[in-house]
């Protein structure tokens, strides 16, 4: 099968699982999920995955650790998040920072 077909299968699988989790949440008796350990782990999974996705997206390229214009973009993003800027502004400012540095010849 082609990569394109596999991508479609992956999208549909991700969709079925995302919806299935939501539906299951609406269906299970509340007592099943009252276990505090399950609650804590679920909360930390979101934090852990987002942190890992951020780190890999910001500091790696094709399996290698890389420091480039993205570092400055992340600095700008942190500053804006700290100043409670809206999501779209944080993302746009990061893009503009990296694009400007690369236009100036930096990696």
């Amino acid at each position: 099968m082609t990569t394109y077909a596999w991508t479609w299968i992956a999208i549909l699988a991700a969709a079925a699982l995302a919806w299935g989790i939501k539906y299951a949440g609406h269906s299970v008796p509340e007592s099943w999920l009252e276990n505090p350990r399950v609650h804590r782990i679920a909360g930390y999974i979101t934090v852990a995955m987002l942190a890992a996705l951020f780190a890999v997206q910001a500091f790696t390229t094709r399996g290698e650790l890389v420091l480039d214009s993205r570092l400055a973009a992340v600095g700008v993003a942190v500053l804006l998040l700290w100043r409670k800027a809206p999501f779209w502004l944080v993302v746009l400012a990061a893009a503009v920072t990296a694009a400007a540095l690369r236009w100036a010849g930096l990696p």
């Binding site: 991508t7 299968i9 992956a10 999208i11 549909l12 699988a13 991700a14 969709a15 699982l17 995302a18 919806w19 989790i21 939501k22 539906y23 949440g25 609406h26 509340e30 999920l33 505090p36 350990r37 804590r40 782990i41 679920a42 909360g43 930390y44 999974i45 979101t46 934090v47 852990a48 995955m49 987002l50 942190a51 890992a52 996705l53 951020f54 780190a55 890999v56 997206q57 910001a58 790696t60 094709r62 399996g63 290698e64 650790l65 993205r70 973009a73 992340v74 993003a77 942190v78 998040l81 999501f87 779209w88 746009l92 990061a94 893009a95 920072t97 990296a98 694009a99 400007a100 690369r102």
Partner: protein, 232 residues
């Protein structure tokens, strides 16, 4: 944020949230196309997966050259919290069943849960109204803006030249940021980031991110000291 007058606080909050959230559907659309998905696949992610964190994760792993299964697993782990939202919303939406429950499940996300549970505890109709208006509102704006973003992304060409790789990193950081208030959450985030980076040169793309889930299990296994909050 813009104030709107729609006759109830729940509706006003829901519409404000829908507009604000929808606007970052533009970044999702653009980044998805930059990661190598086509416009139809991008639209399918927003229509069918419809939970921002999981969608960004899917395209992040895919764009890094990860296997489809790694993209699906990362996306699914990030969607686990929606299951807990469903549990919290069940008393608000009860009784519910059939197509209505199918649709309520689809629009059970951060924003609809937040608006519903922000209404007074004893005002179930307001909570229900908040859930449906925010859920359906975000569904409409998120998908509309995804199409706009994907069209924009297609027109841009080389993603790195426009800083779209940095934009994707900033998007993950912005999703993470509000969850970092508890001290242990900051430790989990820092350790997860370091683990993922350390494993990147040795594991196939996508796997270092899944490995970070182990950090969450270790952190959540033992309870926090009394008085310390746990992230949702």
């Amino acid at each position: 944020m813009a104030r709107v007058r729609l006759g109830s606080p729940a509706r006003e909050q829901a519409v404000s949230v829908a507009v604000a959230t929808g606007a970052y559907g533009v970044s999702f659309g653009a980044l998805s196309v930059a990661a190598g998905l086509d416009i139809w696949q991008t639209m399918a992610l927003s229509l069918l997966v419809f939970t921002g964190g999981s969608q960004f994760a899917f395209i992040g792993v895919f764009g890094a050259g990860g296997a489809p299964i790694a993209a699906v697993l990362t996306s699914t782990f990030l969607g686990v919290r929606n299951g807990f939202y469903g549990v919290a919303l069940a008393p608000v939406l009860r009784p519910i069943g059939g197509p209505r429950k199918v649709w309520a499940s689809q629009v059970t996300i951060d924003e609809s849960t937040a608006v519903a549970l922000a209404q007074p505890h004893d005002d179930v109709p307001a909570r229900r109204e908040g859930f449906w208006w925010a859920g359906v509102g975000v569904f409409i704006t998120w998908n509309a803006f995804t199409i706009a973003g994907a069209a924009l992304g297609s027109a841009l060409g080389d993603p790195a030249r426009w800083g779209l790789d940095a934009a994707a990193a900033a998007a993950f950081l912005a999703l993470l940021w509000p969850r970092l208030a508890p001290r242990r959450a900051r430790v989990v985030a820092a350790v997860s980031g370091v683990v993922a980076l350390a494993l990147t040169p040795v594991l196939p793309a996508g796997m270092p991110i899944l490995a970070a889930a182990v950090v969450a299990v270790v952190a959540g296994w033992r309870g926090p000291r009394s008085g310390e909050a746990v992230p949702e």
